[in-house]
Point group: C2
Chain length 246, copies 2
DNA sequence: CGCGCTGTTGAAACTTGTCAAAGTTTGTGG
DNA sequence: CCACAAACTTTGACAAGTTTCAACAGCGCG
């Protein structure tokens, strides 16, 4: 019995590397696949890659041949203008896909950098296309994921185009909170993996403005900030900051 | 001989409604398809729809079942926040696709409004998925189109996040110019189909700021503006405004 | 021909950015 | 384990850019 259990655990440890047993499968590509389909996907998503904090997963201009599913860790993506200005275009966490922008030109158009030690599953794109020609649900789900990325970007455009500094930061915190919640973490308490400057870049603000907004939120009792440690004390208060009445 | 010619012209007029003879096929979905594949696409893209200036092609919240290729005309897409703020997320012209954002939730997430009398080809999405399971090149091209939309959105995020008012407007004009050029129109002279307010919404600026920037560009000899009629006099000048030295 | 929508321009108010200084944390090498 | 340097954060004072409010001009449509 003891023997048997041990061998079970060992094989589990191996199998766990596959989509079919990944605890992120509800957030990632495998969504809605049958058991048999999932096993075919396992085969596709066999390459893993570790990325150390601060290292690039890929760089703008590099040849594109795979998208990446984040297994664990935290990333930022960003583009760099010729005159040195750069913009963080997103922060990605476990279960989310990276590299969709590279399909269009067959080159990556942004940089993806790990904000903590991370692990990703590489998904060779041409094989994903092949498989999704055979598995209807996979195809459809992949289209949904790409579309969701477009919707997300529209949300950011909305944020950058119509909101003022404090509204942007409130929206940002609520979004993070929601995504942490979906992953089983606390909705109200988390560590920011990015600097004030990176937050500012994403939100179209200078780091000092981000810092001041944090301080203000704290003064008003909406959150407690200690460096990168955030506790949300008053969700409703933050939400109301997003839609000021005046 | 004369008879023959007439009959040729008549059949041409009919055939012209299909992708295989659409003069936008180099910009639209059919790209890279073989003759035979193109004919199968024709079958799919059989529904046309006229949209009058000011009318909605679709509204946020409506059920999604098709994407649209613009055959002629000009559209804007935008989202509306609960508190009344709205943001134009894009302007689309002939050969471009509308509705990709709807795939993710099976509902349209933005409004699409014609800025001039327009005609679109409706492409039933589930049939597009079927066909692209059979036609590899169509599948790949469609993925590229979605990805291109993501890249475009990142460009707008860059613009909204890092550029000041005049840089934004310069980038906007140069982008329009380039897209008109790709469609065989003059790169340096065109009519804006949208109001200052709509430009401002897209660029995250108030209409007065847009107006002032136009005036300034004119004073400095970069462009000539007369209401919606724009002539670009100095492309290099506009480009340099996008990347100020100081 | 006038009414409404759109666009232009000016002045003041407000928000955010810039510059500067000091405090805090983190990481590294001795 | 400590010391030091580097990176990050906070805060203040001031400057710059954008919005707001307001008035007016022009164009286009009924």
């Amino acid at each position: 019995m003891g023997q048997h259990k041990l061998s079970d655990e060992v094989s589990l440890a191996v199998i766990k590397k596959a989509c079919s047993n990944c605890n992120l499968r509800e957030l990632c590509l495998p969504l809605c696949l049958s058991r048999e389909e999932m096993l075919r996907l396992d085969d596709l998503v066999s390459t893993r890659r570790r990325v150390r904090r601060g290292d690039h997963l890929y760089r703008a201009g590099e040849e594109f041949d795979a998208i990446y599913a984040i297994r664990s860790g935290f990333f930022k993506t960003g583009v760099l203008l010729s005159d040195g200005r750069d913009q963080v275009t997103g922060f990605q966490m476990a279960g989310e896909l990276l590299g969709l922008d590279g399909i269009s030109t067959e080159r990556h158009t942004c940089n993806a950098i790990a904000l903590e030690d991370s692990e990703v599953c590489a998904i060779p794109f041409s094989r994903l296309e092949s498989l999704s020609r055979e598995i209807h649900t996979l195809q459809h789900h992949f289209h949904k994921v790409m579309s969701r990325e477009i919707v997300r970007d529209h949300g950011v455009m909305m944020l950058l185009g119509t909101m003022r500094a404090e509204e942007r930061l409130a929206a940002f915190l609520l979004n993070l909170s929601q995504r942490f919640t979906a992953r089983g973490f606390s909705p109200s308490e988390f560590y920011l993996r990015m600097t004030r400057e990176e937050i500012g870049s994403y939100l179209g603000l200078k780091l000092e403005t981000v810092s001041r907004a944090f301080s203000r939120f704290q003064e008003e009792g909406h959150i407690a900030v200690q460096q990168k440690h955030i506790r949300i004390l008053n969700v409703a208060g933050l939400k109301s900051l997003m839609h000021p009445s005046h």
